[in-house]
Symmetry: C2
Subunit: 202 residues, 2 copies
Amino acid sequence: MPRQVDHDERRRQLTEALLRIASTRGLQAVSMREIAAEAGVSLRVVQYYFTNKQALLESGLTELGARMDRRVKQRAAAAADELTPRGVFAAVLGAILPFDEQSELDSMAWTAYYTAALTDPALAAVGVTLPNALENFLTARLTAAQQAGDIDPDRDPRTEVAGLLALANGLTSSVLSRQRSHAAATEIIDYHLDRLFGPAAA
Amino acid sequence: MPRQVDHDERRRQLTEALLRIASTRGLQAVSMREIAAEAGVSLRVVQYYFTNKQALLESGLTELGARMDRRVKQRAAAAADELTPRGVFAAVLGAILPFDEQSELDSMAWTAYYTAALTDPALAAVGVTLPNALENFLTARLTAAQQAGDIDPDRDPRTEVAGLLALANGLTSSVLSRQRSHAAATEIIDYHLDRLFGPAAA
DNA sequence: GTTGTTAGGATACGACTGTATCCATTCCGG
DNA sequence: CCGGAATGGATACAGTCGTATCCTAACAAC
């Protein structure tokens, strides 16, 4: 199969192989040769479709962001019939927590990338996009809910959202390290949503 | 200086050099030779006082835990005159958040270790000690406060504590990545403490 | 059919890794 | 004062890393 290769598809396969390694053995275990082996191709192929290791890493982070985005939208669509402000928050925060094997693997990889980004400006630039978008989106929703009179007027929407996102991230960490179950984490999230929106509808 | 060397002191210096590298350039930048250079000694010295790189890494994690423990006790002592249950929580959670340059560096290193521990069982074993101790300690305090009638009797102490610790960890992440200032993070913590204990005394 | 571009196999380079070894100091105890 | 242990300098080893190069197939267009 020498001519006519779908480059985007090839790159997608390699990126997925990279994320598989990063989520199970950590980002420090990711090497060009390991990716090649994981994807079942030669080292040359990895070099051929990505100019750099850096480009490969950035591709992995972009893909992780896209997956998270997909999960949020999927959850929002699943609860579309009851799209209250609380429902939106439950969907987004519930999509951040690892809730099945794949999302747990992705959370592992995300955590690895987050840590790497603390000392790698190039990754940081790619990585802040999604968290900022989430915060702005939720803040806008909460502000709207407040203006509609659905929540206490003397709460600061951005502060509330920042707290909830930080809580979800911290809970994700504790779920990944097996300190807490997914159910326990969800319970804590729900508890805080109750405090903000009032008790959930049946 | 051939005979009579204080081994513990030597190991402490090397461990500090290790943490300086881990907190500024990440754990993946930590190598035997880099530690030697940072500490101003030869590679042989690093080998001589630590049998392994693994032993060195574990020493770094232990030291980080000790520092955190010291910070908590220091804050508790500083607020010893007003050691209300809320004061204890404010001290512990305030010690988790990065509040000065050194604690920020330590938080960076802690984050790096946390991530490494997700794929390295040996580090995980060392690393869970402190978080578990903190959770148990705070849960005991909150249970006592509840029995004394200081907080709402239908709250679950362990759930509350788990939420607060997760919140503090998540806020730490956002402070490290410059998404939020220390002041903003502290404000969010205080806000949640108000919800739990009632408004703070003047 | 020839030509030229695309796709990848094979191999090599220099840098860096953790670890091991050899050897020269320096000092304590006898 | 002298033998032996403690300390550490210098160097080497076998791997692995990212990257570069060389060369050969395979197909499209002419």
